[in-house]
Amino acid sequence: MSSARAWREYPQRYRYEAAVCDQCAKWFFPPRLVCDACGCREFTTKAMRRTGKVLTYTVIRVPPAPFKDQAPYVVAIVQMDDGPRLNVQVTDFVDGQLKIGLPVSLEFRKIYEEGEAGIINYGYKAVPV
C-alpha cells in the first residue's frame, strides 16, 4: 500500500471514523456512498467505539514481505459493538486466551515500516480487553 493511500485513510485508520446512515442508523466502516439496507445517500460521520468481539480468526505463518518479522500472527474478523465487521490483526494475547467470542479493543500500533529508512505506517490492531 502506498503512503498516499494510507494518508487518505487516516480518518479510519487513526480515528475509526464511520458513516452512519441518516435514515436507518446502520454503521459503515469504511464509509460508503449508498446504504445497502435502505438506499439512503445521507450519512453522518461518527467515531466507532473501539470495542468488539472476535468472530473468527486464522494464523498467518507465511506472510507478505513487509510483515515477515511478525510471523506467525493472527488475523481475525472482529464484530464491532457498533455493528461493522473488521478484518484486523490481533496481538498481545497470552497462550490459550485467543478464542471465538474474545472481547477485544482497538489499539494504535505500527502496521508496517517501509524498510529501515522509509515511512512508518500506523493503524489499529485488536488486543484482548
Binding site: R15, Q70, V94, F108, I111, I120, Y122, V127
Partner: protein, 350 residues
C-alpha cells in the same frame, strides 16, 4: 486563574523481561543486580509499539478522563522523549491527528534525556496559564535502550503518560512549579549512535541527587510547604533505589512515595518515569491531597510541581485503565531471544 490537570492517562506495554533472564545471557550475577538496582523486571515494547503508539493510547486515556473535552479545542501538544521514532518528522503530528486535535494546534517534540516529559507538561500548562490556549497536552514517553550487557540494559523500559491541562473542571490544581538546571555531562548519545553513553558513578551525586534535591527544595521554598504537608511524592526513577534514597534525603517517607514508585517492576521509562508515577498516584488520590512531582533529565535538570487534588478526582479515576492495573495485569514474559528481536538487537540480512 487556576490551572491544572483536566484529564490524565498512562499506557504500558504488556511485555516484560526479568533481570534473571538478562543476567543469564551475560553471565552476570542476577541477585547482585536486583539488589544493586532495586529492580526485578522491566517493560518491553513489542515490534509494533513505539513512542507514537504509546503516546496515542495515553492521550486517549487522558481524554477519556477529561469530562468530554472536544479534542479540537486542544491548542498545544508536546511529546517529550529521547526515542522519537523519526530523526526528522515530529511524533506530535501523528498523535495530534490520531486524537482528532488537528489542524488548529501548536505541536513540538521535546528532548532533554529523561526530563522531556515534564518539560512538555511545564510548557503546556504555562500556555494555558498565559491565556494563549484553552487546553494543552504534555506527554512523556520512551522506548529507551541500553547497550547489550551494559547496566542500563537491566533498566531501560517503555511506557507513556499524558496530561491534559486547562483552567476549568480540574482534577488537580498546579499550585507551584520550579526548575533547576546546570551543564552536567553525566549521560549522552551522539547523533547516529544507537546506544547512549554514561559517566558511570558520576550519574549519582552531582547529577541525579543534586538536581532532584535542588528542584524539590526550590518548589518547597516557593510554596512554603514541608515534606510532611504532602500525601504523595514521586521522583524520577532511573532504577528502584535512587527515588527512595533521594526522597528520604529530602524528608519524605516510604509511605508517601510508595504509590508512585513503579520502577521495581516497570524499569526506567525515561521521559515517562515521573509522569507515569504521577498517573499511578492520581489513580488512588483523594480530594484535597497534595502531591509533589520532580523529574530528572541528564545533562542536567529537574522540574518540580506541587498539585492539589480536587473533588472531581473520584469521578474520573475509573474512566480509563489504571496504571497499576496495566503494570500488574497478565504481563507476557519474554526470553532474551524474543526480547532481542523485539528491540532489534539482532543483525539481519539486508
Amino acid at each position: 486563574m487556576n490551572v491544572g490537570i483536566v484529564g490524565y492517562g498512562a499506557y504500558l506495554p504488556k511485555h516484560r523481561i526479568k533481570v534473571e533472564e538478562i543476567a543469564r545471557v551475560w553471565g552476570a550475577d542476577a541477585p547482585s543486580y536486583k539488589k544493586g538496582l532495586g529492580l526485578r523486571e522491566k517493560s518491553v515494547p513489542a515490534l509494533d509499539q513505539d513512542v507514537i503508539t504509546m503516546s496515542v493510547e495515553a492521550a486517549r486515556n487522558a481524554l477519556a478522563r477529561s469530562g468530554g473535552v472536544d479534542p479540537r479545542e486542544i491548542g498545544a501538544l508536546y511529546i517529550g522523549s529521547e526515542s522519537h521514532p523519526y530523526a526528522v518528522k515530529p511524533s506530535g503530528t501523528i498523535v495530534s491527528e490520531a486524537i482528532g486535535a488537528t489542524p488548529a494546534i501548536h505541536v513540538a517534540d521535546f528532548e532533554f534525556a529523561c526530563k522531556a516529559g515534564s518539560e512538555g507538561m511545564f510548557v503546556a500548562h504555562g500556555l494555558v496559564k498565559a491565556g494563549l490556549i484553552k487546553y494543552g497536552i504534555g506527554i512523556g514517553a520512551d522506548t529507551s535502550q541500553g547497550a547489550p550487557g551494559d547496566a542500563l540494559e537491566y533498566s531501560a523500559a517503555a511506557g507513556a503518560a499524558a496530561f491534559l491541562f486547562g483552567s476549568d473542571n480540574l482534577l488537580a490544581r498546579i499550585e507551584h512549579t520550579f526548575s533547576y538546571t546546570s551543564d552536567t555531562p553525566d549521560f549522552w548519545r551522539r547523533e547516529y549512535m544507537h546506544y547512549p553513553q554514561h559517566a558511570g558513578r558520576y550519574t549519582g551525586e552531582p547529577a541525579y541527587f543534586k538536581h532532584t534535591i535542588g528542584a524539590t527544595e526550590g518548589v518547597l521554598e516557593r510554596s512554603g510547604m514541608k515534606p510532611s504537608d504532602f500525601q504523595f511524592a514521586v521522583f524520577h526513577q532511573p532504577n528502584g533505589k535512587f527515588p527512595m534514597r533521594v526522597g528520604k534525603m529530602l524528608g519524605f517517607s516510604h509511605e508517601q512515595m510508595e504509590a508512585g514508585w513503579l520502577s521495581p517492576t516497570l524499569g526506567n521509562t525515561y521521559s515517562g518515569a515521573s509522569p507515569i508515577g504521577l498517573s499511578a498516584i492520581l489513580d488512588v488520590a483523594k480530594p484535597g491531597d497534595k502531591i509533589l512531582m520532580c523529574s530528572y533529565g541528564s545533562g542536567s535538570g529537574s522540574d518540580s510541581f506541587v498539585f492539589t487534588v480536587t473533588e472531581r478526582i473520584t469521578e474520573v479515576q475509573g474512566l480509563a485503565p489504571k496504571t497499576r492495573y496495566m503494570l500488574e495485569h497478565e504481563p507476557i514474559y519474554l526470553a532474551y531471544g524474543e526480547y532481542a528481536k523485539f528491540r532489534r538487537k539482532i543483525r539481519k540480512a539486508e
